[in-house]
Symmetry: C2
Subunit: 321 residues, 2 copies
């Protein structure tokens, strides 16, 4: 089936929401649907749209994988509770961190996270609930990139090993699949989500594991989590497309208490981009870079060095892993 | 014996040169002295002063360790030949690169280089030549830092395991030991060395091995050598205290020919400093950082990412290793 993009300039958000809610309602009927909310723009919009269409017939879960930003699960659940949408937290920290233990290869890490999420955690939720429908926030860029072989995400059927509806009886519902991110932001706004959600910079599927070069241990996640909080605090005012902190595996020489010490390095990236296909580093004022460095070396234990990415995409990518 | 600093404001370069040349001449008499020239300010000034005082009684060697910057041995030897000073190149590339094979710990790498230089290579030169005198460019900061336990360099007697003159019959001659770097630059200028020598930014003793995080292989040295050429070309006009390229061991995602590729990252550092004790990153224009990134990713095979250091010393250090 060919999927046709609805371009942002042709999007009537209220009309789109009415139409998609109606389609979801017809599709699910008296059945039950489930979805996973991550707090990103896509899954947040899908959750709001799903609840408007299905009410109690949609069960929403937040999978706590131990790789989230500081305070994220509680914050997202509270925010949706305030909007009248109940979200259940599934504590799967041990499963994710256990599967990541000892892995340093980026592809193996990515694969472990996908496997635990779709097979072990979300796969079980779907089966235990008896749901016949999976609601997902798949967007048009995901489809394009999957076809191009660049990344494979949100493609839950395939990743579950579930090939067709005939074989397993699940149906995937993807109401946002004709929209790109900027259009989804408009829909999210129209659905009543606050700007802190609809205006959110993109965040990677593997969460903070994508921001740790080398092995992902609870200690290293905690280091990059602290760094992420600082970078987001300092750069949210920049209005950049995306900004992130990366914990390197390489150690570099620093000075602690007047003596040499091999410490940690954090790389900061901040991007100007329209659609993530191409990007250039934001020309942040040096005062801000120096403040970032002071906070990161002063507040994150073990960090002695901070660098700023100055390479465009391509040949770089937005994330380091 | 207490060594007293001659401060730059009290330095009469011509008087200093006459006095030190006379002392060297008296000390060596009819004997033979040897020295190693690296092309840095200190060893270049010691070489010129030594030849003015001793003429043919000083034999000067350039140890090619395979860790030098592009074209460096030939360039330095030609430059000194033009000044009437013959310098013999000692090819010790295999010894250095062999000793570094498999080592990733910074301390072990540093120790291997020191051992090969002083024991295997220069130790043999001293013994084979029958020289009774070693001329060295030790400066006042080296003495201070050795006493403080920060670094131990130029201390050839101790590193050779040669403790006293009585025991081995060698005498170390250190005519620049009362001067700091800025004063040595003035002396180097007065000795007729060109600005490209007396105005040179500092360069680490372990040479490009200090600019490679992880194992130092011929391929990785070649990568950082290419990067160093570009960084020095682009930043020599900045008049900064020091500027350098560091090859990381961590790999990061890049895009090559439209596909994902885990490639190399180069970190650029450029320092404002008076004496290397403290330093701050130079506020380079973004146009220059972007040009550096374009050249490094375009001209150095395998490089997909370039970062710029934004941390002060302390808690960072000038070099990464």
């Amino acid at each position: 089936m060919e999927i046709r993009e609805i371009r942002i300039e042709n999007l009537d958000t209220q009309d789109f929401i009415r139409k998609k809610a109606s389609e979801l309602s017809s599709a699910v009927g008296d059945g039950l649907a489930v979805n996973a909310l991550s707090g990103g723009v896509d899954s947040s919009a899908a959750t709001m749209l799903g609840h408007r269409a299905l009410g109690d017939k949609l069960k929403t879960y937040f999978v706590e994988n131990g790789l989230m930003r500081a305070g994220e699960p509680e914050r997202i659940v509270a925010l949706f509770a305030g909007l009248g949408v109940p979200v259940k937290i599934v504590d799967a920290r041990d499963q994710f961190l256990g599967a990541l233990k000892g892995l340093t290869d980026p592809e193996e890490k990515r694969e472990a996270i996908t496997r635990v999420f779709y097979r072990d955690v979300f796969g079980r939720i779907v089966k235990d609930s008896g749901a016949k429908y999976l609601l997902q926030g798949t967007n048009y860029t995901d489809v394009e990139e999957t076809v191009a072989g660049i990344k494979r995400q949100h493609n839950i059927l395939e990743q579950l090993g579930i090939d067709t509806q005939e074989q397993y009886g699940y149906k995937v519902l993807e109401p946002l699949i004709q929209l790109r991110k900027s259009a989804i932001r408009k829909v999210a706004n129209a659905l009543g989500l606050p700007e802190e959600i609809y205006g959110r910079p993109p965040f990677p599927g593997p969460a903070l594991a994508a921001r740790v070069i080398g092995e992902v241990t609870p200690e290293r996640v905690e280091t990059v989590r602290k760094a992420t909080t600082i970078v987001e605090e300092e750069l949210s005012g920049s209005r950049a497309f995306q900004y992130l902190a990366i914990l390197h595996q390489d150690r570099v020489t620093g000075i602690r208490d007047g003596k040499r010490d091999y410490g940690l390095q954090i790389e900061v990236r901040c991007w100007e981009s329209k659609d993530a296909k191409e990007g250039s580093p934001t020309r942040l004022p040096y005062e801000l870079l120096e403040k970032l460095s002071e906070r990161l070396t002063g507040e994150v234990p073990g960090v002695v060095s901070v660098t700023y990415n100055v390479t465009r995409k391509p040949p770089s990518t937005i994330e380091a892993i």
